[in-house]
């Protein structure tokens, strides 16, 4: 084999060309991995809102809390199921909740749709991932709200001790909570018995139940489906939230991957230009290698490896660049929940590997024709050059 350091040093010898090409490949890999990280970020932001022991019950046919209408009568009946876990005080962990999108003014004069969640006394206990980081829980029977951490500062008055105004009423902020990055962080929570009347919504959107274990959960879901008293659809909480992410994540993935594909064509051409130049500039060297006894195949492999190195360098650069976007966060409207969600670029080892493979593949593809040309050179012509 022709030693690898011959390739790496030859690339280094033409630093400008190599650098520009690696940068181009890197940008493509950057877009590619950023898109995957983003789609993954949306999914994990929404999906991490779910606890596997929790069950969300919606009206039959509804896909989202926003559209669902559940009678209040269901609450008591569901709470008496044997699989339902109990709070420290011995109350069943069941809550009737109502979700209403609220239009809040933003600092920049525009508006955001924020989901307000009307909660029951056990809503916090049902979701151990939701933890207050400041202030206290809103008291039942009052207009007090707790803000998801993502909402702090998003609207005038959206901070601890501040006051929000919507539905012609005032809502003092008494607490701020996190939800391990889940969608609840983009919500505001308030007593359902205050939120419902404010929006003239006597019913509930959903009933949330915490079961004793995942087995109990499955038994509970089965029980609800078989019980003719209910026309409800039961889903585990993670499943429910994962469904809410599909449209937006698909949109970003499809668009992003399509764009990455087009970009990659450009970058492969760029790599090809560079590798053709590398071969052209080193014809004499390649001829000598052949004269000394290296086979055509070795020359082919050498040039291919060189272009793969070029691509891998682009891959590393792009992946590192994409990793640097971790601190960025994006807020946008989720069409499915009609509310603003916050998410970030979430890398996974799989995405990083894919980025490196993608970069290497682009480089190798770009080197294919130049490598074939190099291996087909006649030794004598090459030595004469």
């Amino acid at each position: 084999m022709i030693p690898l350091y011959y390739n790496t040093r030859s690339l280094w010898a033409r630093r400008l060309s190599t650098g520009l090409t690696v940068l181009g490949l890197g940008l493509v890999v950057f877009v590619f991995s950023a898109v995957l990280m983003l789609a993954n970020g949306i999914e994990s932001a929404l999906a991490s809102g779910g606890d596997p022991r929790n069950v969300i019950l919606l009206a039959e046919g509804s896909t989202s809390e926003l559209m669902s209408n559940v009678e209040r009568d269901a609450l008591r009946a569901l709470g008496s199921a044997p699989q339902v876990a109990s709070s420290v005080e011995g109350n069943p962990l069941v809550a009737g909740e109502l979700v209403v999108p609220v239009l809040l003014p933003r600092g920049d004069g525009k508006e955001s749709n924020i989901n307000a969640r009307g909660i029951g006394p056990e809503s916090f206990a049902i979701r151990p991932t939701v933890r207050l980081i400041a202030g206290r829980e809103p008291r039942m029977g009052t207009n007090e709200v707790a803000l998801g951490e993502a909402l702090v500062g998003r609207s005038p008055g959206a901070n601890l001790g501040g006051e929000l105004v919507f539905a012609e009423e005032r809502w003092p902020v008494v607490g701020v909570f996190t939800a391990e990055g889940g969608a609840y962080e983009s919500e505001l929570w308030v007593d359902v018995n205050r939120l419902g009347p404010a929006f003239d919504r006597p019913g509930l959107s959903a009933v949330v139940v915490r079961t004793g274990s995942e087995q109990a959960r499955d038994a509970f879901i089965k029980g609800v489906e078989e019980d003719s008293r209910f026309t409800l659809e039961a889903k585990s909480e993670p499943e429910y939230w994962a469904d809410q992410a599909t449209w937006l994540a698909t949109f970003i993935r499809v668009l992003g991957l399509f764009v990455s594909f087009i970009f990659s064509v450009g970058a492969v051409l760029g790599a090809m230009i560079t590798m053709y130049a590398q071969v052209a500039a080193r014809i004499g060297e390649l001829g000598m290698l052949r004269a000394v006894g290296y086979r055509r195949r070795s020359v082919l492999a050498s040039i291919l490896i060189e272009s793969a190195v070029l691509g891998a360098a682009g891959g590393v650069l792009g992946a590192l660049g994409a990793l640097a976007t971790r601190w960025m966060e994006i807020r946008t409207l989720n069409f499915q929940t009609f509310a603003e969600i916050r998410f970030g670029f979430t890398p996974t080892p799989g995405i990083m590997v894919a980025a490196l493979v993608f970069g290497t593949l682009m480089g190798t593809l770009g080197g294919l024709l130049p490598a074939l040309r190099a291996s087909r050179l006649s030794i004598l012509d090459a030595l004469r050059a």
Partner: protein, 386 residues
């Protein structure tokens, strides 16, 4: 031998490289046009929104509804020419996300009056208005499922529980405007009669046509003022403002697409810059010879920049040629998964922007190579072997 001919000859020194560079540039221009078109797509509904139409909904929340009893009161507001209403039904057809399409209940006669951009055969209009559970469906939607007049369509209610069956009575197209042709409309009566009392006679929004579009703002305030102290305060905006408000909530996505469009310009910059850098490097001696003969540095810089410009123009031209079929292909493949996209949205302005971007980027790409060409002293350049 003219200056132009010198540029031409230099370009053709390495035809393979020229072709590859132009191809890469064209691919970039194409991607740029594609992304700009996606951005245009977001704004297109806002631009085509009717100026003389107002949109009145509950102030509290997008999903909150309003009592139907507001309709006669709004009609009395001075300047209101006509009024209709609609309610989001959100029916589900099939289980997968790609089967989703918009469905809403309307009052057929007034709906057809206020949305006069709808094109429906007169015979079908009559049939739609006569059937209490008739449905008017969009052209794209009809094509997607092969539905025609007389077919029965059953939707699973998401907001209104149960299964709802409608008879297709007509197929509409739109002349222009914000309505897509992927929706299903049916008469209010069909739903209202089967609802429990507390959900009866509630609508999602009122659409008001004003006599004089320039008085839209005044009419809007008058409507909102009328209900300010009622249990259901309203919020009235022009159709355009409502759409723009919706788009602003998506601004992060639009920004992301714009960032990516800028990235593609950077990639083109790198590819063209690389080619020129190579070509200058290989011609160090030739260019030094020109300078030795008396060519001024500025001339040599021009030579390189003209080459760059030529590559940019070729890339831009080729990109503009291949972009429209690509975008159409993408929409054909993906559009239906996204709930339908309008068929014709490619704009001349975007194509022109693509060419301008290519030209600008190519000139930028030529700067460093041109500088390198005149940087080394003539005597040293003359000795350089490639």
């Amino acid at each position: 031998m003219t200056f132009g001919r010198l540029v031409w000859k230099d370009l053709l020194r390495n035809p393979l490289r020229l072709v590859l560079t132009v191809l890469a540039g064209a691919v970039g221009v194409m991607a740029f046009i594609f992304l700009r078109t996606v951005v245009d797509l977001f704004y297109s509904s806002a631009e085509s929104a009717q100026a003389d139409r107002l949109f009145t909904r509950a102030k509290a929340s997008i999903t909150a509804d309003l009592p139907l009893s507001y309709l006669p009161r709004i009609s009395t507001v001075p300047g209101v020419d006509d009024i209709t209403f609609y309610g989001f039904f959100g029916g589900r057809y099939g289980d997968s996300q790609r089967d989703f399409f918009g469905s809403a209940f309307v009052d057929p006669p007034s709906f057809m009056r206020v949305f006069d951009e709808l094109v429906v055969a007169p015979r079908e209009v009559a049939a739609f208005q006569a059937d209490p559970c008739g449905a008017l469906i969009g052209k794209e939607l009809a094509k997607r499922y092969g539905w025609k007049s007389g077919d029965r369509v059953t939707l699973q209610g998401t907001i209104y529980p149960g299964e709802w069956t409608f008879n297709v009575r007509g197929i509409y197209d739109v002349r222009t405007g914000s309505l897509d042709t992927n929706s299903l409309f049916f008469p209010y009566r069909c739903l209202n009669e089967k609802l429990p009392d507390e959900r009866k006679d509630r609508v999602g929004a009122f659409m008001v046509r004003v006599e004089d579009p320039s008085r839209s703002a005044a009419v809007s305030s008058a409507v909102d003022a009328m209900f300010a102290n009622s249990p259901y305060p309203t919020r009235t905006e022009s159709e355009r403002a409502a759409t723009l408000g919706f788009i602003s909530m998506l601004s992060a996505i639009i920004t992301a697409v714009q960032v990516v469009a800028t990235v593609i310009l950077l990639i083109i910059l790198l590819v063209i810059g690389n080619t020129l850098a190579m070509s200058v490097r290989e011609r160090t001696r030739d260019l030094s010879t020109l300078r030795a003969m008396g060519f001024k540095s500025g001339r040599v810089v021009m030579l390189v920049l003209f080459e760059s410009l030529a590559i940019g123009l070729c890339s831009g031209g080729l990109g503009v040629l291949i972009a429209p079929p690509l975008v159409r292909g993408f929409v054909a493949v993906v559009g239906s998964q996204m709930g339908g996209l309008p068929a014709d949205f490619m704009r001349e302005g975007t194509l022109v922007l693509g060419v301008l971007a290519a030209v600008g980027v190519s000139l930028l790409a030529g700067i460093i190579p041109a500088w390198r060409a005149v940087r080394i002293p003539v005597a040293e350049g003359l000795r350089k072997v490639a």
